[in-house]
């Protein structure tokens, strides 16, 4: 959205357009099918019958980064994985969001000490929008993280800063 951002004076028209654009963005967050470790199981559970991420319009898991909006880093990122993760993030189209799911993705979690091959926090590799703590976070926590991401999206505007 580099095309129309930041060139308008704030006003009724602009805020209404903002509302529509943000509504569509936050109501249709397509996550990427990208599970790394334990948290991926909870991510799958969140997409399955009882929790049903699809209710919030975020159930269409896309396997290719090109079509995904949200990368849920679900698990421990290792040094070997870090550059792949970075590349996947680079392949995603703007606007893109990253959610660090679980203690490992936030800070290394249980692997913070003594582990010689674990990235201590995925925010060293990609910029993170939402942190969802837990080891692993419950699916409810993931959904809460998604809702917080929706809140974050709805603050974006195309008006001049």
């Amino acid at each position: 959205m580099g095309l129309i951002e930041g060139i308008f004076e704030p006003g009724l028209v602009v805020t209404s357009v903002d509302w529509v654009l943000n509504w569509s963005r936050k109501r249709s967050i397509f996550p990427m099918t990208f599970g790394i470790a334990c948290c991926a199981i909870e991510m799958m559970a969140a997409g399955a019958a009882r929790f049903d991420l699809d209710r919030f319009g975020a159930g269409a898991f896309r396997a290719t980064p090109r079509q995904a909006d949200l990368m849920i880093v679900a698990g421990t990122v290792t040094f070997k994985m870090a550059e792949r993760l970075r590349r996947l993030w680079e392949q995603m189209a703007e606007p893109r969001y990253v959610m660090a799911m679980g203690a490992c993705a936030i800070s290394g979690g249980p692997y913070h000490l003594h582990a010689y091959h674990v990235v201590k926090g995925v925010d060293q590799v990609v910029p993170v929008d939402v942190y969802v703590p837990g080891c692993p976070p419950r699916p409810e926590a993931l959904i809460e993280g998604l809702l917080r991401l929706q809140d974050k999206i709805s603050t974006r505007t195309i008006a001049k800063p």
Binding site: M1, G2, G11, S24, F56, A82, E94, P95, Q124
Partner: protein, 443 residues
């Protein structure tokens, strides 16, 4: 590896800076938007001008009412196709949710997430326009149009009811089939231009699958054409007036089977499960549209649903009585849309029930079974047609009897379907398990 800041905003210089300043200073956002899309405005102006000149020349022409009708119908068709795709995509997610004891989209829009596909579409418009560096740029840009536009063009000769058609054509059926066949070109183009191995696999699979299944599909339809003696879709619909028992699917046993061969082949030609190999997610990441993002991807998505409805519409017109109601006399475009939507729903039902076939099995199924069978049906139907006339009164009697038997079988199948659905619905607590329903998000 460290964090790289996002791309800085576009810098304006010289004339563009002046324009942007002028536009923003003057306030109204609309003018600024118009100026930002100057190229688009330029082309739109040319189109409007040409249309205007043409319209003026037409104005002194007695054909003006026809011209206005054409414009209105095309715009209406476009709107209809968009609505079909939008409802189709939303419906797919709802149907899949219900099949999987989930709810599907619930939040977007007030009622059952009805606005989900609107939000999806609007979001994809806002996405960054990504073209891989090594992609074949012109082809990459062209491919989505090649996939979507012919699928839309197919609707130009599809009659929705008597008189509800853009152009009545004597080769309407051929036109629709030809248009639907062009879609594969867009798919191959997309797969090739993406310069990705997964895309290439998807494209090659699409090529061999779609091209092979054209043959049984065409042969099954030819059986119908022979028994009616017309390629005109209106004529084909007219031949089925008079209620349930006069639908072509019940005309003779060969046509009854031809409906099923056509339906299976149409699944393959729409890349629907179990023939969804070109975009099979668990094998080829996303198949031929792996590298597509944003609105181009939406166009492929649209094309799929538009084509789904188009093949179902063909099946409706050729086999299921088109716009004729099951009871004689009540013909309406509503029947046509309803029957087609039912067939689309069955496609979704398949999609969320069946696993995917392997590529060699796809080809085996076509070449070893479907192709000989449809050829046999074609020959059989022709022979039946040869003897089903006044010159063979005994055969005519037999044919009439069989005709009603087949109609009865069809009624029975439909009744069984509804009975099964009703049984499942009334015993849903026992069948799914009360434990499950207690915990569902909407319960």
């Amino acid at each position: 590896m460290m964090y790289v800041p996002e791309r800085p905003p576009v810098e304006y210089k010289g004339l563009s800076l002046a324009i942007v300043r002028l536009a923003t200073k003057w306030g109204p956002a609309g003018i600024s938007l118009l100026l930002r899309f100057a190229w688009g405005v330029f082309f739109a102006a040319i189109v409007v001008l040409v249309t205007f000149v043409w319209a003026v020349r037409r104005f002194i022409n007695p054909l003006l009412p026809w011209f206005i009708r054409d414009v209105v119908v095309v715009v209406g068709l476009l709107a209809f196709v968009c609505i079909v795709a939008i409802i189709g995509i939303w419906g797919e997610r709802k149907v899949s949710g219900r099949i999987q004891s989930r709810l599907g989209p619930m939040r977007t829009g007030a009622w059952h997430g009805w606005a989900q596909s609107l939000a999806d579409g609007l979001k994809f418009v806002q996405k960054e326009d990504l073209i891989p560096r090594d992609a074949d740029q012109p082809l990459f840009r062209l491919a989505p149009y090649v996939a979507l536009v012919p699928a839309f063009c197919a609707y130009l000769t599809i009659p929705f009811s008597l008189g509800w058609v853009f152009r009545e054509s004597d080769v309407g059926l051929l036109f629709v089939l030809a248009m639907l066949a062009i879609e594969v070109l867009g798919v191959i183009m997309a797969g090739w231009a993406s310069n990705s191995k997964w895309s290439l696999y998807g494209a090659m699979r699409a090529a061999c699958q779609l091209v092979s299944y054209e043959i049984p599909m065409g042969l099954s339809l030819l059986a119908v054409v022979l028994s009616v003696g017309s390629l005109n879709l209106i004529e084909l619909g007219r031949a089925q007036e008079g209620g349930w028992f006069s639908w072509l699917i019940f005309r003779n046993p060969f046509l009854f089977l031809a409906f099923f061969t056509y339906y299976i082949a149409s699944l393959a030609s729409c890349k629907r499960s179990p023939f969804d190999l070109p975009e099979g997610e668990s094998e080829l990441v996303a198949g031929f549209h792996t590298e597509y993002s944003g609105f181009r991807f939406v166009m492929f998505f649209f094309a799929e649903y538009v084509a789904m409805f188009a093949v179902s519409a063909l099946a409706t017109i050729l086999f299921l009585g088109g716009w004729n109601s099951p009871v004689a006399g009540l013909c309406s475009p509503l029947w046509f849309v309803l029957k087609s939507a039912f067939l689309v729903w069955v496609q979704m039902w398949f999609r969320w029930t069946l696993p995917r076939i392997r590529i060699d099995q796809v080809m085996h199924a076509c070449v070893k079974y479907l192709l000989p069978l449809s050829l046999l049906l074609f020959v059989g139907s022709s022979l039946w047609q040869l003897y089903d006339n006044r010159a063979h009164p005994a055969f005519e009697g037999f044919a009439g009897l069989l005709h009603y038997v087949l109609g009865g079988v069809g009624l029975l199948l439909l009744g069984l379907f509804f009975a099964g659905a009703g049984y499942g619905y009334y015993n849903r607590n026992r069948l799914v398990g009360s434990m499950v329903r207690k915990h569902l998000p909407g319960a």
